[in-house]
Amino acid sequence: MRKRLFYGLLFTSPAILGFIIFTLGPMIASFVLSLTDYNVFREQTAFVGLDNYIKLFSGEDDLFYKSLGITFYFVILRVPAVIIISFVIALLLNMNVKGRAVFRTIIYLPSIVPAVASAMIWMWLLNPDLGLVNSFLSTLHLPTSNWLYAEGSVIPSVVLTTLWGIGGTVIIFLAGLSGIPKQYYESIDVDGGGWYSKLRHITIPMVTPTIFFNTIMTIIGSFQVFNEAYILTQGGPNNQSLFYVYYLWRTAFRDTQMGYASALAWVLFLIILFFTFIVFKSSKSWVYYEGGERT
């Protein structure tokens, strides 16, 4: 037995060591740093207790609340959009049509485009004067928009650009859909139900575990939005796309206030933890597992 334990540890050691060295260690370090006034360029670092956290919540740093609000807005807009659209796409891709493999490839393709490249593409597409999107809209005599360059439309525009890369979510939905046994649908056929009944009473309940998983992953990913602000908008216009992680990065690497930035990071960690917990709790009432039991 002891030998098996040894082998077990040996073979999992890359993952375990990786976790300890590159995740757990830095996390502990950042928590300790969040209790200090660590500034990379300063020789002395003093322990300041909860001062960083107090400064955050006291309202002294108004960009904290601003970036938090903007990030929430982004999450609220993006999570339902990602889940619904990728679910619909997965349903379509799950149908028995000619060239299904080609369509699946096309949907997944954007996910392997590097984030920077995809952001640059969107910058051109959404360019207010020369961009393809506005040109298309104006030939149809539809109203155009300033997209990324106006305060009101910048967050929806960023959501739009991120929707391009939902291929990964679609793939997971597809896996969930293909796991539904055929006989359930046959029984609906026997009972004389149509496509809506199949969707409502078989498909959706059967993929709730997948929806659950995708929702949590999308929430986490959306709270951590960074690339888009870094590449597309630099937080503008008028700080309207100052996402939380972008603000954190700016505090850490431009203003070199690592201690304060660590506190920002921990607050975000707790927020994500909280929402993940809520979704987990709520899952009892809407996630079904095979065998009919709710978890």
């Binding site: 040996l10 050691s13 890359p14 060295i21 500034n39 990379v40 360029f41 300063r42 020789e43 960009l63 360019n127 207010p128 004067d129 020369l130 300033n146 360059y149 106006a150 503008g236 216009p237 008028n238 700080n239 690497f253 431009r254 203003d255 070199t256 690592m258």
Partner: protein
């Protein structure tokens, strides 16, 4: 071989792989000391007043200097020329040049956090140079300049040295960069208009400038901005284009006798009448006169050389570094003095080189610094148009001046008056060089200015609305004692 033995063997192979992994991982950490020469040189006091021109420090110990730079490949090539010259002069010194083209500040910050800084580094006044200097990470170059036989503050052109406080120079720019008004000569000829004067004494007033810009702003139906039927929504050729960043608009704030902070450094000054007037006049070019693209429309305007060549814009307020691109685009361009609000003025922006306190070889680092500032070594970049020389005599001595301003595509006929003379006689330091806490102040100011450029708010209202918040970030001036 028994199964037992084979197993043993595979375990030892696995262990060996694991050890290798660990070795590789630990190899990622920095070497204990990259320059582990046994003797620690004495610091700046004994600087190179008597550095022998013939070469070498007295001891022949092998020395490696590490240096970090950003920049385009051509610029790195120029540094390499300077370094090759330097290494020839000091055969015992090797320069390890690290080119960091992107995320320079982030990477340098990481080096500082890891206690693994270079000996000499290119620095940017708008980002981490001052935060580092405030923590005493750089040598005071004043000490070197004071005792050097070859260069001193008087030999440098104005506004290329950066000081933490009076008497403490933390960095020297390898050359200045100033702003001017570039234009397409053919557009003026075809419109029958007199191009911008090159001499600062004859420069256009703001109203004259607006007047010309209006005549040169043409919509798709060929009407100019003075025509009552002019359609500002479909402009084919803009009269003028400029950036809406502080470097660009600071020219006019200074020209209008305004500033970012008051003279004593105690008060936020962008909400004062002089600065507000300058900002408003610039914003009016976009929103009232419709002779310049808004920041959104400006995203469609190509780089200045292409924009002027393709007649997307008739004039462009830009840094002299665009000369390099203009020289390569074959068309008739020229340069004039910036329009004047109250007095001729240009803002000088430039990077700098700084010497880290942790270097073991300050004397040698200073020699390298001098090599980098030598216009002869950088002559290719200077004649190409990207750089300007750092030594004053290259501007005042006709023979030296001719070397980089005559018979070159990058230096049109107006250049000597509009750029060289304006730089010597009426230039202002970049605000990043003397306004303390500049970034934090601008974090407050920039969002408000976004609204001004877009015409949603007047300059006065916008600046007044954030004055209190900006004031709380004001921490004084670096060019004022105390």
């Amino acid at each position: 071989m028994s199964p037992m033995l084979r197993q043993r063997k595979s375990i030892s192979v696995l262990l060996a792989i694991l050890m290798m992994l660990i070795a590789i991982l630990s190899g990622c950490t920095k070497p204990s000391s990259s320059t582990d020469s046994s003797n620690v040189s004495t610091p700046a006091k004994t600087a190179s007043s008597e550095a022998p021109a013939s070469g070498g420090t007295k001891s022949n110990e092998k020395i490696t200097l590490r240096m970090t730079v950003w920049g385009a490949p051509e610029e790195v090539a120029a540094y390499k020329v300077a370094i090759a010259k330097f290494e020839k002069k000091f055969p015992n010194i090797t320069v390890n040049l690290q080119h960091i083209p992107t995320d320079y500040d982030t990477k340098l910050t990481a080096m500082v956090a890891g206690n693994d800084v270079p000996d000499i580094a290119q620095m940017e006044s708008a980002s981490i140079a001052y935060p580092l200097a405030e923590q005493g990470k750089f040598y005071n170059l004043q000490d070197f300049l004071a005792s050097d036989s070859e260069i001193n503050t008087g030999r440098l052109v104005p506004n290329i040295s950066y000081s933490l406080e009076p008497g403490n120079i933390i960095g020297l720019g390898p050359g200045p960069e100033s702003f001017a008004l570039f234009y397409n000569e053919d557009i003026f000829k075809d419109a029958g208009l007199t191009p911008p004067p090159s001499k600062a004494s004859e420069a256009w007033t703001w109203d004259q400038f607006v007047d010309v810009a209006k005549k040169l702003t043409i919509d798709t139906k060929g009407r100019n901005a003075n025509d009552p039927a002019f359609d500002p929504k479909s402009i084919k050729q803009y009269g003028v284009n400029f950036g809406t960043w502080w470097g660009s608009y600071s020219n006019f704030i200074y020209s209008n006798n305004g500033d970012f902070v008051s003279e004593d450094g105690k008060t936020f000054a962008l909400n004062q009448p002089a600065a507000v007037e300058a900002i408003q006049k610039i914003a009016d070019l976009i929103n009232v006169h419709h002779v310049a693209p808004s920041p959104v429309q400006a995203k469609n305007i190509p780089a200045t050389n292409v924009a002027l060549q393709t007649k997307k814009v008739a004039m462009a307020i830009d840094g002299q570094w665009v000369s390099a691109g203009l020289a390569q685009s074959k068309f008739h361009y020229n340069v004039g003095a910036l329009p004047v609000m109250k007095k001729p003025m240009t803002t000088v922006v430039c990077g700098m080189f700084s010497i880290f306190k942790s270097t073991k070889h300050p004397k040698e680092a200073w020699e390298l610094m001098k090599a980098l500032m030598d216009p002869d070594a950088a002559i290719d970049m200077i004649t190409a148009g990207t750089w300007m020389p750092s030594y004053r005599d290259w501007y005042t001595d006709p023979a030296l001046l001719a070397k980089w301003t005559e018979k070159l595509d990058s230096r049109p006929s107006g250049y000597k008056d509009a750029v060289v003379n304006v730089l010597l006689n009426s230039s202002h330091q970049t605000p990043t060089g003397y306004v303390k806490n500049f970034n934090k102040i601008m974090d407050v100011v920039n969002p408000a200015l976004d609204k001004v450029w877009l015409g949603q708010q007047s300059a006065k209202d916008a600046m007044d609305s954030i004055a209190e918040k900006a004031q709380s970030q004001v921490q004084g001036r670096r060019d004022v004692k105390g």
